[in-house]
Amino acid sequence: MMDNNWLEAALTQALTKPLTHWINLEQPLDFNNYIKAGGYMGAIKALKEFTPREVLTIVSDSGLKGRGGAGFPTGMKWSCVPALQKKLPLNQDTSTQESSYLICNADEMEPGTFKDRYLLEGVPHQLIEAMIIASYTISANKAYIFLRGEYVLAAKRLQQAIDQAYKNNWLGENIQGTDYQLDLYLHTSAGRYICGEETALINALEGKRAIPRAKPPFPQVSGLFGKPTVVNNVETLSNLPHILKHGSAWFKSLSPDSDAGTKLYAACGQVKNPGVWELPMGVTIRTLLYEYAGGMSDGMKLKGLLPGGASTDFLTEQHLDTPMDFDSISKAGSRLGTGGLIVLGDQHCPVAMVLNLLRFFAQESCGWCTPCRDGTPWVVEILTRIEQGKANHEDIAQLHELCDFMWLGKTHCALAPGAVEPLKSALHYFKEDFEQHIEQGCCPYDSSSSEGKEVSHDE
């Protein structure tokens, strides 16, 4: 009896929390245990039952959207790869087409984002299985995991899993008796946020300075070493084994009223119980903040939050009932981004918070284009003076102007517009706080405001 209950619970888990139900952070499943748990079933199905074009159709039908920040439909991204573009009959093999590359983006350096780490450290074989499926679909015989240098444990576990997969004929030549070949390599980076931008990432992998490339050409057409290349996020890819196993209708049914699938949501900052949770797409911010993250830290009220990492716009109390899916969060004026809340309480200075965020962007600007290279440090300079109570109202007008200079279409990549998002929304929602700093000539939050060290405390 007990056994059945356990089994049922396990099956429900597998079907409702596909991404995380295998996660074990202490000791991830090794190859044998991953197989026992039903692993590599998605990959075997893809390789043995479907042509690449059929897999593409399944993934397109599933409605899977990219989890790396932009939410671009994965099927659509893949369909631009030349090998999948040729008008071949649906059942014809595409493996003889020009070879492409698959890159898994595991750079995860967006402040306040730590979801991919759980997947990388907790269930590395799931990612490898996913990469086999994706590589097969886009006709890639070489794939790379681009991992940030600081994720040392993830690197160790991934390399072990890759070695086990080679040993068991899941990587290398003639995978599982098919004529498909895939080599998978782990590249560890050396600490630079811009490497997460997909074209900068490609330059980094080629051993060049990691500056973003102009688009077009898009990487799907000309990417790594000039070959067709698909870059996908860790979480995006990790959905694939389950979509192959259970079908696209199942994937959509995980969240009937929202974007398809589940999402790794997270919360950090001034909340009682920070963490990561896999939930159906479209839970409300309120549910996430109060039920999962345990509400605000003791004695604090909500001042504002970034819904999806450092480069998203602030939302406030009035947005608590917004579902956390791509469209709803955009309608509320922000972006779902990576789905991790960064929560600010009412006793911490919002100007100090924005200053911290903008310092990050100024430091990590790659320096290629002027609006960002010069604009981000200029913003930092102004914000520092505001926080120290040494600014005037014209400085605020200047900030608005800088937001405009660094907006979409005016910079070479999306880093600078990403920096504008928290800044511009803070100027809107926390207008009074900015003005108080100027009028009072000091930070009204002083003790809790960390960056305001040099504020004079003359009473």
Binding site: T113, H187, A190, L205, G207, Q270, V343, M353, L357, R359
Partner: protein, 187 residues
């Protein structure tokens, strides 16, 4: 600005390291060369193994000196200027000598919201160094780091390749003291 006009002359060191003075086959150890060639073999071009090669040498020598940079560039058949462009781009490649332990303290947003400054002050006081500096005994270097991906357990830091999280005033001192004892006990 006028007074700076001649500064260029002063900053050029009298003995410059030049490509001709170094032969990478002699400069790099066989262990380093083997590891670099291993990395080269999985990339489509030699140039693409740049970061890996820098990491290999850094692992053996602790940091990347001008001599090392030139030797690696020769080994990869690229100009040292190009490799310098890569090396200086990254936070985890050290172009200056660092201490035995390199503290990477996260200064990003979650850590900012949960008490990073107190931890920073404690480290600075305890070791009497600021960001970018190394203790006189060569034990510790202090650097900032962007978000370490431990935001749910902030404040966080990484020392060499070990991550520490949920830092408090007490725990951070205990960690530092524990590490300096290790160094003292080492032969």
């Amino acid at each position: 600005m006028k007074s700076n006009d001649c500064s260029l002359e002063q900053t050029i060191p009298s003995i410059m390291v030049t490509d001709e003075k170094i032969d990478f086959r002699q400069y790099l150890s066989s262990a380093e060369l083997t590891a670099i060639e291993q990395e080269v073999s999985i990339m489509a071009t030699r140039e693409a193994a740049g970061i890996e090669a820098l990491k290999v040498v850094q692992q053996h020598r602790g940091w990347i000196s001008d001599e090392s940079l030139i030797a690696i560039a020769q080994c990869l058949h690229i100009s040292s200027a190009q490799l310098e462009g890569v090396a200086t781009f990254y936070n985890l490649i050290y172009r200056q000598k660092v201490g035995h332990y390199v503290i990477h303290l996260c200064d990003s947003i979650s850590c900012h919201l949960t008490g990073y400054d107190e931890i920073l002050e404690i480290i600075k006081q305890h070791l009497s160094i600021d960001y970018g500096q190394t203790t006189v005994d060569g034990q510790f270097t202090l650097l900032s780091n962007v978000c370490l991906g431990s935001c749910d357990k902030s404040p966080a830091m990484m020392i060499n390749s070990t991550h520490y999280h949920s830092l408090t005033a007490e725990s951070v001192i205990a960690i530092l003291n524990g590490l300096s004892q290790n160094v003292e006990q080492a032969p």
